[in-house]
Symmetry: D2
Subunit: 162 residues, 4 copies
């Protein structure tokens, strides 16, 4: 039977220190729940930090890389999936996750939130911006959950998985 897969999406190069700390903690907590972590797989920002946290806690980490090879892969991946399809891989991240967490705000992250809405996936926003939230709320889709902390995000995931 398929394992539960939690997708954590967030800024790469532009990630703030806080976003990376939240992502690390989120990865750790996901691993403790024995869920699989899925990220965009690169060795920067939220992707890297979440993978680091999850792997340190003994979790299984899948990275869906934009590239044809592992040159820019996070060292904390168990399973690097080399798509070679560049930014189009964002849709794979979304379609393959049972729940999607947007950790932080950025153009790539927002594209993934939009694709998640279209794919009717449960979405949690952690450390999001008010402007993003106001905009997302204005769209004709179920409103994403807001989480204030990684712990709260985990509680939201449990609600969604019930």
């Amino acid at each position: 039977m398929a394992k539960t897969i939690i997708g954590v999406m967030g800024p790469g190069e532009g990630a703030t220190q806080k976003e990376q700390e939240l992502a690390f903690e989120l990865g750790r907590l996901i691993a403790e729940q024995h869920w699989v972590l899925l990220t965009g797989g690169r060795n920067v920002g939220v992707m890297d930090a979440a993978s680091h946290g999850a792997q340190e806690a003994g979790g299984l980490v899948i990275g869906i890389l934009p590239d044809e090879n592992r040159e820019q892969a996070s060292p904390y991946l168990d399973i690097p999936i080399c798509t070679g399809i560049s930014g189009a891989r964002n849709n794979i991240n979304v379609l393959s996750s049972d729940v999607i967490i947007g950790c932080g705000v950025g153009a790539g992250t927002t594209s993934e939130i939009m694709l998640s809405l279209k794919a009717q996936k449960p979405i949690i926003l952690l450390n999001s911006s008010d402007k993003l939230y106001q905009f997302v709320k204005s769209l004709p889709y179920p409103i994403p959950k807001l989480a204030e902390s990684p712990e709260q995000a985990i509680r939201c995931i449990k609600e969604f998985l019930k």
Copy 2:
């Protein structure tokens, strides 16, 4: 030499009457400038209306379809490109266009605007929402141009192409 390609992105099934009228007019004006129109190719909403307007004015229309076949293609396409890659084709729309016009607001359209920011493409927003604009302005990218009418959008495109 490659022709100038103008991408018009906008809601599909959820498009309003006004969005479709603007898209039709936009398509017509793009064709009159002898630019190629590129859309998401389906037979609904902004994609269909813009294609209709452009083809009626004698323009060349490219549709980048999500599907493997033409079953849901707009009848107003000259060149239906069947990608079979579903929502991941949004990135192809963006990468292949010299200028991107977001006509209306929706989850798919917003994902394309986000990908356009990442690809550093010139963007024009026509009939956008204030909430989307406020959010986009908060991101660390050049601010898209706002157009009030198809005619103004054409003037913006000419500025970008200079």
Copy 3:
């Protein structure tokens, strides 16, 4: 109404002089029939030569590029489609063409012939190898047509389009 699209697939860097001459002539003849030429879009080998021939004869040329940008695009394209999906774009070449011509033999070309079989597209092999033909004949699909010359390939296309 959609134009007739003829896909010409063949080796890139590894193309022989003969393959390029055949491709140039094929492109020219396709343009003379007012069909649209579709290729893999790069500035080498069969893709480039066919595009050159078609554009010189006043035809319309679409190139489905593996890359995110036009850096390696053939200068003879009217419409460069930047997919950013690397070798996965081979399936788009196939799905978007009404008839596929494999001009020459190579690993990429053969992958496109295989995808054409799966997509149940009419296939013509020009300047193919006996080993490829013997292998293709052994698969449980309709047998591709063999053409000895670009002129014969055009006659085969006309048969398929009837």
Copy 4:
């Protein structure tokens, strides 16, 4: 650190009884080596049989599905990756595997062998056809290894991984 990923490619609906038996055994042996099995993920043919064998032996199984959802996923997957990119996902199968085994002969399988050649991945052919082998040998790439049995395939993989 990334785990070792072995890709097993082979016919789906058209797989023979023998191909499925070989695939089951191959999956089992791959799991016993503590390698990760990667397949095309669907619930038919070689993909399904290899996944079955690997999961029964306690291995980890990744399936790279062509679809947007899990409706046609093998029940023996641990990690179903929903690509939504249809046949274009064949390139992801290849790029993500350390070694590729073609088990049986078919159009899709052959497209994956061709993409593996281009990606310079080690290839093993198990229960292949002489016509396919003769053709592959004629291409300007390293010649794939032929394996007579799943056990021999495992020995070949070990050679490649040295």
